[in-house]
Amino acid sequence: MNTRRRERIIDEVEAASWLEDGMTIAIGQPTPMALVRQIIRRGLKNLTVVDAGFSLDLLIAAGCVRKVITYYAGGGFGIPVMPAFRHAAELGEIEIWECEEGILCAGLQAAAQLLPFLPWRGGVGTSLPEVNPDLKVFTDPIKGETLLAVPPIKPDIALLHAATADMYGNVQHYGGPGWIDLFMYRAADRTVVQVERVISNEQVRADPWKTTIPAADAIVRAPFGAHPFYSRGFYVQDNEHLREYSSLSSDFAAGRTEGMTMYLERYCRRPPTHADYLEEIGIKRLLSLHEY
């Protein structure tokens, strides 16, 4: 008989061992980059990813992705569309399950509530049901209105980043969770959350309303784990690093692949752990990303 409460802290290598080729993986915001890099390090293939922006682009460039469930692949830094995503999409190398923020929420919530669909009005009149035939236009059974029926979007695993958690998987954010993170958590079979800091269970119980994810399956310690993105309450985005990536990604899409190969090698594949990655970035750069 196990007489103690089970602790849920594991490292990023063990967390990534839960993943397999072909799985559906939801990636939250701010991006759990330590886990994303671990996916690339493991060389996973044929993933379906529910993702947006930079991490989506990086996973595509690294060859991990077969299918994308996304509402946005914009870039920033004057790049309206992430280059590796755009390139792969235009060549038909990835399949795109076209959706939109409200539709994505409805699909994740349908999965969370074990419903075969949820109705949604946003998207009626648009091309979305035409380019994504899984979205069915239907007539509601009560008032006869025209709506979209959104089927469940059911990730095998959700990978999220947060400020803090206790050793039992109670996650508390600073400054709120990413807008889609709780939907991903509710819909996914399992949830792994990387955190800046592990706090005591007593700290969690001092403010239980702050607990945003009550029972993550695993917690991974990952200080600076969202780098090059921000983590509210800890550090801001590393714009210099992201600008550099954007330029490499544009080159990659244009057939000049060397820079991207080096980036993936240097930052994702070679460092055996997250700590080694941080060493590569350098403590000076990291400390320069202070919040205020």
Binding site: R6, A112, R186, I213, P214
Partner: protein
């Protein structure tokens, strides 16, 4: 060891059937179920999670988990680690297969369907208006299993057919009674009363005696039940509380003796 009350026996009996790691949802005004989850948490459930008034907690580290100092006391949130489903009670039904619930009723039929709506043929003029379904229609649809826990055992309660069904148990019977209409939860497992424990036959899902509480006669149960109960060839006696179980129950769960008086 026969110095125990019937509610104590029922609580111990339920506690033994709860497994570590489960999430236990206890409804209003069910002291036997409340005691059962606390007892199980202390004896063999360090990874159980208890949900009271929407507050989700693990309190196995407490020396005592007294009643009613929490449960239906708003101060229960003192021990909370989070609110069930982040304040949005039904947002994570997917995970309810790991949840266990306890249900009452004003009528129960042979297939474990229960009624909290009322008694009488005209819904607009009920002979007895019940309290309403609370969350039982949704809970009984989704939890991994549930227990029907009753403080009485008589023919008004155990009826051939409920006037209304507020929680679907095994419908009109059959092992596929739930799956054939797409209901995912595991359904009622046991029905426990002051007289006996009943389960549901594997094939027909009709209510069947499982054990008689010490001193209770089969004939008594039959006469107190308004439909024909299945009776197995071997009918054991409900195993009484052990000295250890009783001690934990009385000193760490129910020191004020609520269940002893009940």
């Amino acid at each position: 060891m026969d110095d125990y009350s019937i509610p104590e026996l029922m609580a111990v009996c339920l506690a033994r059937d709860l497994r570590d790691g489960e999430l236990l949802r206890v409804g209003v005004a069910t002291p036997v179920a409340e005691a059962a989850v606390r007892l199980a948490h202390l004896t063999h459930g360090p990874n159980m999670e208890l949900v009271f008034l929407g507050a989700r907690m693990n309190v196995a580290h407490l020396d005592t988990i007294p009643m009613p100092a929490f449960g239906w006391d708003s101060r229960a949130v003192r021990w909370a680690e989070s609110y069930s489903d982040t304040g949005h009670r039904f947002d994570r039904l997917k995970d309810w297969s790991n949840s266990v619930f306890f249900i009452g009723g004003i009528q129960v039929d042979p297939f474990g369907n229960t009624n909290l709506i009322g008694v009488g043929s005209d819904f607009r003029r009920l002979r007895f208006r019940g309290p309403g379904s609370v969350g039982t229609a949704t809970l009984s649809t989704h939890v991994g299993r549930y227990y029907i826990v009753l403080n009485n055992h008589n023919r008004r309660l155990f009826v051939e057919k409920c006037d209304y069904i507020s929680a679907y148990g095994w419908g009109s019977g059959g092992a596929d009674a739930r799956s054939r209409i797409g209901i995912p939860g595991g359904g009622p497992k046991y029905c426990i009363t002051p007289l006996c424990v009943m389960d549901f036959a594997e094939d027909s899902k009709r209510m069947r005696l499982k054990s008689l509480h010490p001193g209770v006669k089969l004939e008594t149960v039959k006469q107190a039940t308004g439909f024909e109960l299945l009776v197995p060839d071997i009918l054991p006696t409900t195993e009484p509380p052990s000295a250890q179980e009783l001690q934990i129950l009385r000193t760490r769960v129910d020191p004020s003796g609520r269940l002893r008086r009940g």
